[in-house]
Assembly symmetry: C2
Amino acid sequence: MSSTSPDTPTRILQATLSLLEKTDAKLPTMSDIAKASGVSRQAVYLHFPSRTDVLVAATRYQDQTNDVNTALASSRSAQSGIERLDAFVTAWGNYIPRIYGVARAILAVVDTDAEAAEAWNMRMADMREGCAAAVQALVADGTLPPDTDPEQATDLLWTLLSVRTWENLTQTCGWDQACYLATVRGLALATLGQDMGALRDVLAHSKDPA
Amino acid sequence: MSSTSPDTPTRILQATLSLLEKTDAKLPTMSDIAKASGVSRQAVYLHFPSRTDVLVAATRYQDQTNDVNTALASSRSAQSGIERLDAFVTAWGNYIPRIYGVARAILAVVDTDAEAAEAWNMRMADMREGCAAAVQALVADGTLPPDTDPEQATDLLWTLLSVRTWENLTQTCGWDQACYLATVRGLALATLGQDMGALRDVLAHSKDPA
DNA sequence: CTGTCAATTGACACAGTGTAAAGCAACTCT
DNA sequence: AGAGTTGCTTTACACTGTGTCAATTGACAG
């Protein structure tokens, strides 16, 4: 299937992704995208009505080729709530670096572009469902601390796992991925899992953040 | 002193702040700023070389009039490390809503504008010193969990107190400020303070997040 | 041979930033 | 009072980037 070159829309998306993945800050213009795709600038408009649409389509294409859901599915098969939480945190935490280049581009235009904001919010809503499911599993186990509102716990987990948090710790503070992951796992379990014994078991085969 | 109208640069900054504080998303253009300041667009360029400079100067002006340092100073007079941490988290957590409008504007251009990024990073570096000082106070008390690297604890606290985290919880998730503050205080203390007894004391006169 | 489709070229409108220059009104200095 | 200075205005322009439009080309299918 890679023998014959893919159709133009696909080539544009692939070129856009490759542009976004090189982290040299500057966001690509339509001309950049066209040049990288090997087509004229107008040809891009033939397939995507606006720059935002290209970016949004690129994220969808990436999600599709990376198959997020498969990555996150493993957490659904976990036994206990704690294990499920940990599996979800781990899966998502390891997925973020793969999407960061594109996420950065979208996030940069989210403040000014309603359509981009919409697209990003939908994507994050999907992820939030994973958080909600993990919290529900904790509730079912009775592992969530009794004075904790599930809704609020979901918000908290969702914030902890946000791309911004990942960005802050790994990009700005310079943590490596392993350290990020260990910390975030520990934090999620410490915050949402009251059963400290189970917590210790899960953390046992995980390196310490330090 | 408010009897005579302030000089033009000041009026521009004040007008910019008032534009930024109405949270109707769209960032003001130079024309918007000029109009709101009651001067011509070119007059703005007479005092500030670029749009970014206006935004940056506006944040400085705001910090100056709000006197951040005074607000954060209270944390320095705290007795124990735990109390100091809590005072710092509370002071900063309550300061964020006051600067959010402007912060949003700066953050929106940070991804595309190196100068804005520089200005924002400096501002956040100041805040980070407060985090570092609070962590140091914990270290001095021996209250920081023994396996925790102070540097890393600072990063974590800094991330927890980031504007993005505040934005996520209060703006996107719709938490009210009291709820945000209670949660963040609890999280900071639970994560960085190992002395659970002292923690409970501090949390005693604070409403529960729920 | 003729349509049709994909893409190209070139031109244009529009918004927003930033530069430049000429003019104008008020204030100060001596 | 005259001269210069300061602060601002008006007008014009260059430049970048987005998005639209129309005419043209090349290839392929019926």
